[in-house]
């Protein structure tokens, strides 16, 4: 850091007639350090951008770990109506900017128009904890009546959430949980279950067993681990196995492609199936498999609905894709925070429960698992794409 300050000083004081002198060896360290930091920051960006990983983006707490089930209701203070009439102002805070959040925003808009509530969403400019805290603090200062947040670092964000709760502002988590905080409800995908559903899809595709390779952004992210473990648990005992640990690409689409190519080089015809754990891994697999004319010999299982994945689905180039419901994250968060203000927490959950369960979602204590859709080519794909179109979504 000192190197960087040194660099800045030399910029200010320095001889502007000779900018090249600014790049002396000492400041090179600063150059590289800073650009590395920027690179890292934007790398994280990608995690959310590609929607794959909406999720916890490395948050240490399990968004959907099987065991993260409901903590007892933190506070009864919210069981009474908070604002029985008048305008209700709601803020939804994402972990960054991405197409995934675009779908979420469309869901928010639906609830907003239906309930006549003043709702808006915002992501931190940089996907880091402090930037997100800034957005959160602004919302608190603006006097909103409810906040839904997808914390980037659950543990670091816990005191922030608790502070708002203590001030009487209802806070819920969506997409990624902060289970140790006093947040009132968690709405999101159980990634372990999502992985399990994908694994069950694989079991159907390989009745006699098979060998697979998996691709992912970072295995250090909780959502990646949950998906992978769920998948592995589902294929246990079905003679299906992975040839090696997943190839990782740091959320770089170019590297994702090269990894698939290297996997084909490394294992060739030994591979019976490809698994793309993050959203952009699906398209990378399809591109490389098509290029190598392997489509007829292998099966492809992937996650999420990037525009290209939806196109591949239409053309029958993937066999299974497991999609989350970001649209519902936005719609349900808005609706719940509104009802909570009008009627209190318990009454709000009770009122929403039948609707949620009818839609195949699981409500347990104060956890709402929005579930996933398992889409296969053909009728299921046509129906799914039609539904997306009706909601005005280009991806999910």
């Amino acid at each position: 850091m000192r190197e960087f300050l040194y660099y800045l000083r030399s910029v200010r004081a320095g001889s502007p007639s000779n900018p090249s002198s600014l790049l002396n060896p000492r400041s090179i360290a600063a150059v590289l350090a800073l650009s590395a930091a920027l690179g890292l920051a934007s790398c994280k960006d990608k995690s959310s951008d590609t929607s794959s990983a909406p999720p916890s983006g490395g948050a240490p707490t399990a968004a959907g770990a099987p065991s993260s089930g409901g903590a007892p209701l933190a506070s009864t203070a919210f069981d009474k109506p908070r604002k029985a009439e008048g305008d209700v102002k709601i803020k939804i805070i994402t972990n960054g900017i991405s197409p995934f959040w675009d779908s979420m925003g469309k869901g928010m808009d639906v609830a907003k128009n239906e309930l006549k509530v003043d709702a808006s969403w915002q992501g931190p400019r940089q996907p880091d904890n402090n930037a997100q805290k800034g957005v959160f603090d602004d919302a608190v200062a603006a006097g909103v009546d409810g906040i839904a947040v997808s914390p980037i670092q659950a543990d670091a964000f816990t005191p922030v959430i608790d502070g708002a709760i203590d001030k009487g502002i209802p806070v819920i988590c969506f997409d990624s949980d902060a289970p140790k905080s006093k947040r009132l409800v968690y709405i999101g995908t159980n990634n372990y279950e999502a992985g399990k559903r994908a694994g069950e899809g694989a079991v159907k595709l390989f009745p006699a067993g098979g060998k697979l390779v998996a691709f992912v952004g970072n295995m250090s992210a909780q959502n990646a681990n949950d998906r992978y473990n769920g998948f592995k648990d589902a294929i246990k005992g079905h003679n299906i196995e992975f040839l090696q640990e997943p190839f990782q690409d740091d959320k770089d689409a170019g590297r994702a492609r090269r990894n698939v190519s290297d996997a084909i080089t490394k294992y060739g015809d030994k591979i019976n199936g490809f698994v793309g754990l993050y959203s952009y891994n699906g398209p990378a697999i399809v591109d490389e498999v098509t290029k190598n004319n392997m489509r007829s010999k292998v099966k492809i299982v992937c996650f999420d609905g990037e525009p290209k994945t939806l196109e591949n689905l239409k053309n029958g180039l993937v066999d299974v894709t497991v999609v989350q419901k970001p649209f519902e994250f936005g719609r349900l968060s808005t609706k719940l925070l509104f009802l909570l203000n009008r009627k209190g927490l318990k009454a709000a959950l009770d009122e929403m429960k039948p609707e949620l369960e009818k839609a195949g979602m699981t409500v347990k204590d104060n956890n709402i698992d929005t579930g996933v859709d398992v889409i296969t080519p053909g009728e299921s794909a046509t129906k799914f794409l039609q539904q997306l179109k009706e909601k005005g979504l280009e991806s999910t």
């Binding site: 790049l23 002396n24 650009s35 690179g39 689409a253 090269r258 490394k266 591109d287 525009p307």
Partner: protein, 353 residues
């Protein structure tokens, strides 16, 4: 900390202008050159491969083709970065520029393709994209030279600006261009496809770019000025050289090649991708530095950068094909190679003194 000595500069100039001297001197110079040490490491790596678990896969046709394609996709813009580095500057905008130009091209081609015949639509989109890239380079050079702003900050601002503009272009969504297979073939296709000696198209593009850049740097006056600006800008300016023009050339070339890379990356992935190219400018810097470029300016070469890029991807491929958790080792190996390269340079310079 010290600037390269004038004699060192002369050496660099001479070495750049006449890569081959004569007789024994030539031999000694070759052994000392960075290109030679990179080739030595490359050869050592290749000799090692038959003794690893990748013995049957590393030298396969498809792996070599894959490495070549990756090297080409990186080198195309790393060469531009090298030219800027030789002038003593740096271009940090390249990663975002790749996303921006890729998005721009995809946007144009889908809009134009709706009304025009495919061929002209693709051609016009590419030309407009390259012109836009060139203009961005021109703005960089002007801000850096006319307003005396540091290259680091100017191109850093571009890095942020262009990324955000790419995200804004289609509401953060990628723009698929799979309806234009000829465009995809530009990056994914091969010359003599299916034959034993199939050559990825990006390699052909790279050859044209590399030959042109090498020619400009070693045979043209502008090339000598580029090295000279990097060695001692004030002296160059005082001797009557129009340094602004030199920088226009350098930053223009860098941005133009970044735009070309943006088109190729979009073609490669079948979509304009607003999050493409993240931190790729650092790969370009790494390839240049491994290839002998010095961030203090005045040193670097096209052949060095090509070898640097090749070494990087040969290492990536070797790691991927041998280790079962390759990605955890990647940074260690690449960081090690980078440090080693800089160390070798430092030692060579010390001995030269």
């Amino acid at each position: 900390m010290s600037r390269p000595s004038p004699s060192g500069t002369q050496d660099a100039l001479r070495a750049a202008a006449h890569p081959t001297g004569g007789g024994q001197n030539m031999m000694a110079a070759m052994l000392r050159s960075r290109e030679f040490s990179v080739v030595a490491v490359l050869v050592a790596l290749c000799l090692l491969m038959p003794f690893t678990s990748a013995r049957d896969t590393f030298f396969t046709h498809r792996n070599i083709e894959n490495i070549l394609r990756s090297v080409a996709l990186l080198s195309v813009f790393a060469i531009g970065e090298t030219i800027v580095i030789i002038t003593g500057g740096i271009d940090l905008s390249l990663g975002s520029l790749i996303a921006f130009t890729g998005m721009l091209m995809a946007l144009l081609v889908t809009k134009l393709g709706a009304n025009l015949v495919t061929g002209p639509a693709i051609l016009i989109s590419m030309v407009v994209t390259l012109i836009a890239a060139l203009l961005i380079g021109g703005v960089h050079a002007t801000l850096i030279h006319r307003l005396r702003l540091p290259p680091f900050v100017v191109t850093l601002a571009s890095l942020l600006l262009l990324r955000s503009q790419s995200l804004l272009m289609n509401h953060q969504l990628p723009i698929p261009i799979s309806d234009y297979p000829s465009l995809g073939a530009l990056a994914n296709g091969n010359l003599f496809d299916g034959k034993a000696f199939s050559i990825p198209y990006p390699i052909l593009i790279l050859i044209v770019v590399a030959v042109a850049a090498h020619f400009a740097l070693s045979k043209l006056r502008i090339g000598r000025y580029i090295y000279s600006v990097g060695s001692n800008e004030q002296a160059t300016e005082l001797s009557g050289v129009n340094v602004y023009k030199v920088k226009l050339f350098a930053y223009g070339a860098s941005a133009l090649l970044g735009g070309l890379a943006g088109i190729l990356w979009a073609a490669y992935g079948g979509q304009g991708d607003p999050v493409a190219g993240n931190a790729y400018e650092l790969d370009a810097v790494a390839a240049s530095v491994v290839g002998g470029a010095s961030l203090t300016g005045g040193q670097g070469s096209v052949s060095g950068t090509l070898l640097g890029a090749t070494l990087l991807y040969v290492i990536f491929s070797a790691i991927n094909l041998t280790l079962s958790s390759p990605d955890l080792w990647r940074g260690t190996v690449v960081g090690g190679v980078l440090l080693f390269a800089v160390l070798v340079t430092a030692l060579q310079q010390r001995r030269a003194r």
